[in-house]
């Protein structure tokens, strides 16, 4: 039972972070389908730092450097979306898809290149971080991560930032009616850049949390297995509101965790369902949720539409 709680919290943190990222981006008016790729890059940044640091490093230093690295790589990667979607008015779905494909391909190439450079007999795309990962755990042996606490803090910060500050309200105005926002002197381009970069920051961190969630190595050729898209479903389910996104993330995290630990529950093993069913569960649930909640969608009105000063 405690195992289920551990994994639920971990996966919920991942989904919450990434969905919050999507939330910022979409409130500024840019659809971020590329969250999956951003996660991969954030994970790559964090994993590379973990690979470099020695296992005896102070836990606080490990956490700080990994978190900063993943946020930074996520943010830099999200610039690809920002430049294309904001400056060049490109099709945001297409750019996002390209970013997802590029994320996995580029991360695989980078990790393989590093691995073969250090040891020519190791052409794998796997980074292992068995010992150093322990720095993230609050109690040794239990999968409660400091990153979960950080996620809660970031949730509170997001709520305050989005609803209680001038910046947040301006950001949301740009996603609802950019021309109106521009007419009162808000720089729509800057705001959209801010939205996308924040989503890169949160998405990158989400990637780090995901690859440290109960595993001690990561195969980068697998990307992040559709988690970026699950996060988008969480965001839609949460109605683009951080508080509700948090609840949605908990629900989704629970179902994802179930596929990891269902064997520990006698009544579930007695059902004798193949493990594939549990693997499918999060995706099926999110599809069902989308079916129920998409009809009266509260999406920002101007999302996905490139900002054109001239149109009113």
């Amino acid at each position: 039972m405690i195992l289920l709680l551990q994994y639920t919290l971990l996966f919920a943190s991942v989904l919450l972070l990434v969905a919050l990222g999507g939330c910022f981006s979409e409130h500024s008016g840019v659809i971020n389908i590329g969250l999956e790729g951003i996660m991969v890059f954030g994970a790559l940044g964090g994993a590379l730092v973990m690979r470099v640091l020695s296992p005896t490093t102070n836990a606080f230093v490990v956490i700080l450097s990994c978190v900063c690295a993943s946020m930074l790589t996520g943010m830099v990667y999200s610039l690809l979306l920002a430049v294309a979607a904001i400056n060049f008015k490109a099709d945001q779905t297409l750019v996002g898809t390209a970013m997802n494909l590029l994320g996995t391909a580029a991360a695989t190439v980078i990790v393989k290149a590093i691995n073969t450079a250090t040891n020519p007999d190791n052409p794998s795309a796997t980074i292992a971080y068995v010992d150093i990962r322990k720095a993230f755990l609050i109690w040794p042996g239990k999968e409660f991560s400091w990153l979960t606490l950080l996620t809660v803090v970031l949730l509170v910060v997001s709520i305050v930032l989005l609803y209680k500050t001038k910046f947040g309200l301006r950001l949301m105005a740009c996603g609802e009616h950019p021309q109106a926002a521009a007419s009162v002197g808000i720089n729509v381009f800057k705001m959209r850049y801010a939205g996308v970069l924040i989503s890169g920051l949160l998405g990158g961190l989400g990637g780090l949390v995901y690859i440290t969630a109960g595993v001690s190595e990561w195969k980068f050729e697998n990307g992040v297995a559709g988690f970026g898209f699950l996060a988008l479903a969480v965001m839609i389910f949460g109605g683009w509101k951080p508080q509700r996104i948090a609840l949605a993330a908990l629900l989704f995290g629970f179902f994802r965790a179930l596929s990891n630990v269902y064997t520990g529950f006698p009544f579930l093993t007695r059902l004798n369902l193949p493990s594939t069913v549990y693997n499918m569960l999060p995706y099926i649930i999110s599809l069902v949720v989308l079916v129920i909640f998409s009809k009266n969608s509260a999406a920002p009105k101007a999302e996905g539409i490139p900002y054109d000063k001239g149109s009113r």
Partner: protein
Amino acid sequence: MEKNKTSFLKKPAVQTLLASLICILLGLLVGFVVLLLINPAGAWNAMKTIMLNFWTFNSTRGQLKNLGNTLVKTAPLLMCSLSVLFAYKVGLFNIGAAGQYVAGVGMSLFFAIGMKAPWWLCVIMATLAGALLGAISGFLKATRNVNEVISCIMLNWISLYLVNMLLAPYMDINMSETWSLKKNFPAAVLPTLGFDKLLNNHQYITLAVPLSVVIAVCIWVLLTKTKMGFELRATGLNKNAARYCGMRDRFNIVLTMAIAGGLAGMGASMYYLTDMIKWPMAVTAVPAMGFNGIAAAFLGGLHPIGAIFSSFFIQHITDGGSFMEKIYPAEIAGLISAVIIYMCAFVLFFKQQMNKDRRSGKKGGKAS
């Protein structure tokens, strides 16, 4: 002369071709830079290997064999790219081609091995499975306003796990993959119709390769020359206007996704029923074929005939990537196609630039 040149550059077809070439150039450039970063010494050779693919082999035999291999894989890629572009013409982004392709794999192998069905039945079932999966996305989009991109991604993973489950009983335990069709179920292997003779009796060339080209032409005719194609495109351009004109907009969305899904599903059967590839045990990642289809569709300027060439090109560099020296990861080819898709997002901008300047001088040159 100057005037002629200007009008030549203003032709939409020329601009599309130019834009695609720009995308390819930039993609290859990025790939080359990455190769240089990994190991500058062999980078140029590796790049040549990617671009030459089968021409790197010395004997005609080797060349024909590898050209054939590329062609066999081009057929399913072309089908996937047709699937993506068909949906895109109707305003839908079919990122689910990958999942529909997987459904097609599952059905064709299930009917070939489990039901011992003849090849044509396997192809039909694969097409139907893909169509069903596509129709689900289309139905959810039309009736419940579910973003087709997200529903497609979810269905990709669901179909991957379902197919794993469906094909689990038909594995050759020694090889950890599905049974070889040629050895055990020859009735399910696609007929060659003599096309294998063209390439030195190639082992895997079947009617699939020419058939995929024929289907590309059919899709072009369907989209541009028929009433149905017109209605579908009208629905894509403006759903409300289409409805006002008496077109069944919701039905059209479902129909589009069903056709798109059917194309991807059929593509899978065109590849897996050649026996060149088998489904391994417990696959954990959705096959790249459907995603490469997106690259091919956009690179081909979203035109069915263009897709024939772009599919071949994408498959060509992907296969070329696998012949590189082992210090270079084969995924570079995937990276190049991802950069190409990214660049395709700028095509609109390139075209604007080409149309903007009156003298086709400074700015046009900069954009190309």
